[in-house]
């Protein structure tokens, strides 16, 4: 990917430090700590209740459900960034798909046709670009970051994807700086929340990362 020029959209988020691999790792660790901070108190409460009074089982069970549910809600928020939006008319959609197909290689085009996500290898990991966001599978394939990023206006879905793909190719770190991080965590956690049709794309990105 080219880094010759900085993505101009980064000027709109001048207060954000430019994201790089080290910052991304730190943010990932922050997400993990935050997940633990949400989970451990509920699990500890459940354990304490059971130790003090086994008859408090229903309340302990509610605490465990909270411990499970809060990270699941975050993962769901992450999956939402790539959920398909309503489609435009067939004609514009077909035209836009033709242009997007020209930008992608054969395998990427085929994966996009099957899953709606366009794969793109970058320095930070393997990206899966959707029409209103992108997933970044980090090297090693265990962690995924979900980025919410969009283009305004009434555009066919393939054009939305092409907009994001071109911006990503212009400046990967700038792209991640502009986008909002909706979730960072284990791939398995996100996979369960993705629409089934998109899961093979995540599997492919994981294998390539």
């Amino acid at each position: 990917m080219s880094t010759a020029r900085v993505l101009p959209e980064t000027a709109a988020v001048y207060w954000r430090p430019r994201l790089d691999a080290a910052r991304l790792r730190r943010r990932g660790r922050g997400w993990t700590l935050s997940t633990l901070a949400h989970t451990i108190p509920f699990l500890a409460t459940a354990a304490l209740l059971m130790a003090l009074e086994p008859l408090s089982f229903p309340v302990a069970a509610i605490a465990v459900v909270h411990a499970w549910g809060i990270p699941a809600l975050y993962a769901n928020r992450g999956a939402n960034v790539v959920r398909p939006r309503p489609r435009a008319d067939c004609g514009p959609e077909r035209t836009a798909l033709g242009l997007l197909g020209d930008l992608l290689g054969h395998e990427a085009r085929e994966l996009h046709a099957r899953t709606g996500l366009a794969p793109e290898r970058g320095r930070l990991g393997v990206w899966l670009v959707g029409e209103a966001g992108a997933l970044l599978v980090r090297p090693g394939g265990r962690r995924v970051d979900c980025w919410c990023v969009k283009v305004d206006g009434d555009l066919p879905s393939a054009d939305r994807t092409a907009h994001l793909l071109l911006a990503l190719r212009e400046d990967e770190e700038g792209f991640a700086t502009v986008a909002n991080l909706a979730f960072s965590g284990a791939v398995w956690r996100l996979r369960r929340r993705l629409p089934p049709a998109m899961r093979p794309a995540l599997q492919t990105a994981r294998a390539c990362a």
């Binding site: 990917m1 080219s2 010759a4 020029r5 993505l7 101009p8 959209e9 709109a12 988020v13 960034v81 435009a88 004609g91 514009p92 959609e93 077909r94 035209t95 836009a96 798909l97 033709g98 242009l99 020209d102 930008l103 290689g105 793109e120 290898r121 970058g122 209103a132 966001g133 919410c148 990023v149 969009k150 283009v151 305004d152 206006g153 009434d154 555009l155 066919p156 393939a158 054009d159 092409a162 907009h163 994001l164 071109l166 911006a167 190719r169 212009e170 792209f175 502009v178 986008a179 909002n180």
Partner: protein
């Protein structure tokens, strides 16, 4: 033949086409290019798989120049 296209609600619209020796077509393409940049579009040239460069002047030797809108965090 080189093309200047804009991604829009129709899929994309071809705004100009030119060849190296055609001065009038080139002039029209440059004018269309500048008008779109003034309207807030960014111009991008795909430079192979995984690479794209933003351009501020119409590259005469490019086969395809794509105009895109700004992106923003959702």
């Amino acid at each position: 033949m080189a093309r200047l296209i804009r991604m829009d609600q129709t899929g994309h619209t071809t705004l100009a086409e030119w060849t190296a020796g055609d001065a009038a077509a080139t002039e029209d393409a440059v004018a269309a290019f500048r008008a779109q940049l003034d309207a807030g579009y960014y111009a991008v040239v795909s430079t192979g798989e995984g690479h794209a460069d933003q351009v501020g002047e119409l590259p005469m030797d490019a086969e395809l120049v794509i105009l895109r809108r700004p992106i923003a965090g959702g």
